[in-house]
Symmetry: C2
């Protein structure tokens, strides 16, 4: 029995590792088209910033490690060209054909509009991209940079360049930052960027980045699921454009699973398919795909849309639905933003902003955002946990959260926000 | 209509304030037996430590503020001597009698075994206690201190004295720290204390603290609900010894509510009454009691047993049930402790310990603990939120938690613990 995995970063290696743990006899082969596997792609902005001094710090495991410790074979620089579900085989660009009994597709995401790289134009999707940009920055004096795209990679790139002394303009074609239709979130984020003298231009479609007036251009203008192999093999894609999978990560093809940024997941708040490419989700999907490739029947339960990004030292996190999304999904949302100190003053507590969205009809919590200097990940995770269990706002407002002066105020900002929001409903 | 409130700290003032917000016409009078109201009792250890330089920093609101901004009258140094539910009146120790239409009892907690204070013997329950100890420390050279009691006040006192250069022995009659029957938690806590050269002696019953060989003795040996007034008025007490209340915070007496450390609450994991005196719970109970005293019908939903304490710079938090408690409550608990880095190494991530308890029969999460240098409050709150919604371990293990390198590892320690625990069940 051979399990073949296409893709050797988050989802692919999670799948391979889990499969090995559950089935000691399986023959497991992972194909990675790039030169390295298992690197922390989310760390790339911090390599650009200079905090990660050597890209090798981002490597988690080597192919040798997988071979030695997990008996998983890995081929780097091995790119799949075609999947044949009928024959149960994958042809490589080298011409070689590999047969499989089970296949996991973990081909990730790619830039929506790739541009040919040029001496001062860089993407920031792969380790190779980051290495190129890093080398450029090491050689070039700090000048004027333009970052195209205002998703989290764009924001992280802007911060990294600013930290290196560059003047930074952030431009993007939309009107909301972080791909979140939330004007208040955008205003607050912009205020942070402005404090750090990063200028922001909304509604600018960049048709030819080469013509931007800048010493350096970083393209972070959106990703799309890398579905070419899957689509060519006639596997179904979902409404989001990513590979359609069932809760067992099974595609429409026999014995073919998909996981990670190339696959759809389920949004637990709306109950509908969603495509939110993130490393955490990729790992979880990979685990499930790997288990089920050995004959298990595990379920991936989906996401609630949690993400977090550090912007100029400030944590910015969202989860669930914005009020706008909630309205589009047929809810009757009410929302509130509050600011409150996140710890006692004598423990250097600083203001934190908390945003909550709830459904007026059902009292159900639908989403939220947290912005602050510390405690942001903890608070957004509490909201995420509440969304997972479809908690009502009244229950959320009376959560038994931990309190002691070094850690929080007696009324946590989450509870203050919930109480304010409850007033708009009751 | 007059609302009379006995007790002017957390629960009493929350009740009075909420009542005013809902009923602008109510006559509201708060009686406080001490000289000050509305102080942050949880900040007292940090006043002892020296971080809070002046006790006035712990005062939140003055009686004048309540009079001016909320039209709430406050009498300090006014001690209730007797409640007469039949006549709807309270007699003060001064002999004066005050009638009420609604009464909120918020008499708090008192030491289980009060000792007469002496020049080198201090409790740490009230502001006056802390002021006495603070003055003593300002005058005395650092020497040998004994702290009696290993609840959170004892641990905080030990840390505060150690920070001031005292040699500290912590002694208590039990065998587990933090009143939590969890040997592993105790071992880990002891390791922290030992690293800071605080010695711990278990199973020592102190019958006469005066005879302890020490330059200074701090008594933090347990509290009990202050129910004398309520019991004398024939109000029912519950199985925990605290005042029995229904979910509306109503006592067995007509028009009499109770809130805060003198009252029972409901444990949402066991569904049974529990007495866990904490400022956060007191405030929540107070809000409900205050609302219902104006004719509303709000519910206090209970607690899940969350608490957090800083011990020598390390956050130690618990929520829900320990395995021991779970067994006593008829569950079939399995538990796991794991240690994992709580952030990327290049963001100075440090190991965090996570403990989870789940029910083998139902897969339900029952409790947990978190110990670490940072992120402790956030992680324990995620567990607390999951307990509130009776989340199953499988759902918990796939929570969509926020990930970015400055904030967390791609597999949060919570998820690692949940996956490990799942292996013991499935």
């Amino acid at each position: 029995m051979r399990l073949l995995v296409i893709g050797g970063v988050a989802a692919g290696l999670s799948a391979a590792s889990r499969a090995r743990r559950l089935d000691p006899d399986l023959d497991i082969l992972v194909l990675e088209k790039g030169p390295v596997i298992s690197y922390g792609a989310c760390g790339l902005p911090y390599f650009i910033e200079g905090r990660v001094r050597d890209w090798r710090q981002l490597l988690v495991y080597s192919p040798e490690y997988f071979h030695r410790e997990r008996r998983i074979e890995i081929r780097t620089q091995a790119e799949a060209a075609e999947i044949s579900p009928v024959r149960g085989a994958v042809r490589l660009t080298s011409g070689e054909t590999l047969s499989y009994d089970r296949l996991v597709i973990a081909t990730g995401a790619i830039p929506r509009r790739p541009f040919p790289s040029s001496p001062n134009l860089f993407a920031l999707n792969t380790l190779a991209d980051a290495q190129g940009l890093h080398a450029h920055l090491a050689a070039a004096p700090a000048g004027r940079a333009v970052v195209v795209g205002a998703g989290y990679i764009g924001l992280e790139a802007a911060e990294a360049l600013r930290a290196r002394g560059w003047q930074v303009r952030l431009i993007h074609r939309g009107h909301n930052l972080l791909h979140r239709h939330d004007p208040e979130l955008t205003l607050r984020l912009e205020a942070i960027l402005h404090r750090h003298r990063i200028t922001v231009e909304h509604g600018v479609e960049v048709t030819d980045p080469q013509r931007l007036s800048a010493d350096l251009i970083v393209l972070a203008a959106g990703l799309q699921p890398n579905t070419t192999l899957a689509a060519n093999a006639q596997l179904e894609l979902g409404p989001t454009g990513a590979i359609r999978v069932d809760p067992h990560m099974q595609t429409s093809g026999p014995n073919i699973f998909a996981a990670g940024d190339c696959a759809e997941s389920l949004h637990r708040v709306t109950g509908r398919p969603v495509w939110i490419p993130l490393g955490t989700t990729a790992n979880k999907m990979g685990r499930v795909a790997g288990a089920n490739a050995t004959g298990a029947l595990e379920r991936f339960r989906g996401v609630v849309g949690t993400s977090i990004v550090r912007v100029c030292g400030i944590g910015v996190a969202v989860t669930g639905l914005s009020a706008h999304q909630a309205r589009q999904e047929g809810f009757d949302p009410v929302e509130v933003w509050i600011e409150a100190r996140e710890r006692a003053r004598y423990f250097r507590g600083r203001p934190t902003a908390v945003h909550l969205v709830a459904d007026k009809r059902t009292n159900r919590l639908l989403g939220g955002s947290v912005i602050g200097e510390s405690g942001v990940e903890g608070r957004i995770n509490v909201i995420a946990s509440a969304l997972t269990s479809r908690m009502l706002l009244d229950d959320f407002a009376s959560l038994d959260l931990a309190y002691a002066p070094p850690f929080s105020p007696v009324w946590d900002p989450l509870l203050i926000a919930a109480q304010q929001l409850a007033k708009l409903i009751n």
